[in-house]
Symmetry: none
Subunit: 165 residues, 2 copies
DNA sequence: TTTCCCTTTGAATAAAAATACAAAAATAGG
DNA sequence: CCTATTTTTGTATTTTTATTCAAAGGGAAA
């Protein structure tokens, strides 16, 4: 039976933990980058060892949504989508029918409960604000087209006057 | 306005589909291996192109549980552990109705056969949450509104996973 | 201790993957 | 049709990652 003594394993185990931690917290895109961070933390190792560590830890390198690559832990390997999701600037209101409003360029997109879009869009159209050019409604989505020089802030303000918060 | 229609983009789109299919079905552990399979299927490309395709498809190479490496689709990247119960989460393609997709600024406009828009839009809403803010469907036209930071490339990719472009 | 495994590691290297650059193909918009 | 622009691709190369090989060191047990 082979044992791992405290002294012996300390380095490797700690290193492994640090690797997981760093990969979890930061956007690492190459072993070299990670290697530098580990060195800064006082670990002493080479790329070869790091490669082996990553293999043991099942840490993968996957394409990210910014055109680069990122290392991900096995449990969170789908966390890239999370990243993207978190980045979306959704403002969440609460109202009957109304679900959320988000922006794409200078357009606002309102999500509603199914079938509510038409009604709410009509409401917006009726209030015919000076900042809103028009709306296009589907079943549960409304595209709000603002007038040219309207900024996001005034659009939200206007919308919030039409749609009860 | 850039226009992708059914007939065009055939080579790349088909290749992408094949890549996804192969990666999903087999244990690929290097680009060279995959390249050979693609060549057998009649595709004509080099490792450079394959590398770019894999990047676009967000296919990652991760350590497997047999001491090697395996390429995995983004949706299944955490499912390596589930290799055994691998449920084939097949991409649900819509077989007909689709006519074309075009772009106008950030937005994509999908033309469909009459009356198909609603159904396809629903499909897109269901599957495209990562990059798509919402859709607005008429009778034969769908406006696809992407999330803010989404580039055309990711949007096309997402759409092509839902609809056979 | 000595011997035998086993594990870990680094240096060097091989293997694999990503990209710069240029050219070719495709497409929008006259 | 023609032109400008964008996209796709291959070649050659760089960059990155994996592994080979040898060596060092620890634990176990005689």
């Amino acid at each position: 039976m082979y044992f791992y003594s405290k002294g012996k394993m300390k380095n490797k185990a700690n290193r492994m933990k640090s690797i997981r931690k760093i990969v979890h917290e930061r956007r690492i895109s190459s072993q070299e980058e990670l290697l530098n961070l580990l060195t800064e933390e006082g670990f002493n190792l080479t790329q070869a060892t790091l490669s082996r560590d990553l293999k043991q830890l099942k840490i993968a390198k996957m394409p990210d949504y910014e055109g680069g690559y990122i290392y991900v832990l096995p449990e969170e390997s789908s966390s890239l989508s999370k990243t993207v999701r978190m980045k979306s600037q959704d403002v969440h209101f609460i109202q009957s029918g109304f679900e959320s409003v988000a922006f794409c360029g200078h357009f606002a997109v309102i999500k509603t409960k199914p079938a509510y879009a038409g009604g709410i869009a009509a409401e917006i159209d009726k209030k015919g604000s000076k900042v809103i050019l028009g709306t296009i409604a589907g079943d549960d989505t409304i595209l709000v087209i603002p007038k040219e020089k309207t900024d996001r802030e005034s659009l939200v303000r206007t919308l919030s006057e039409i749609i009860p918060l």
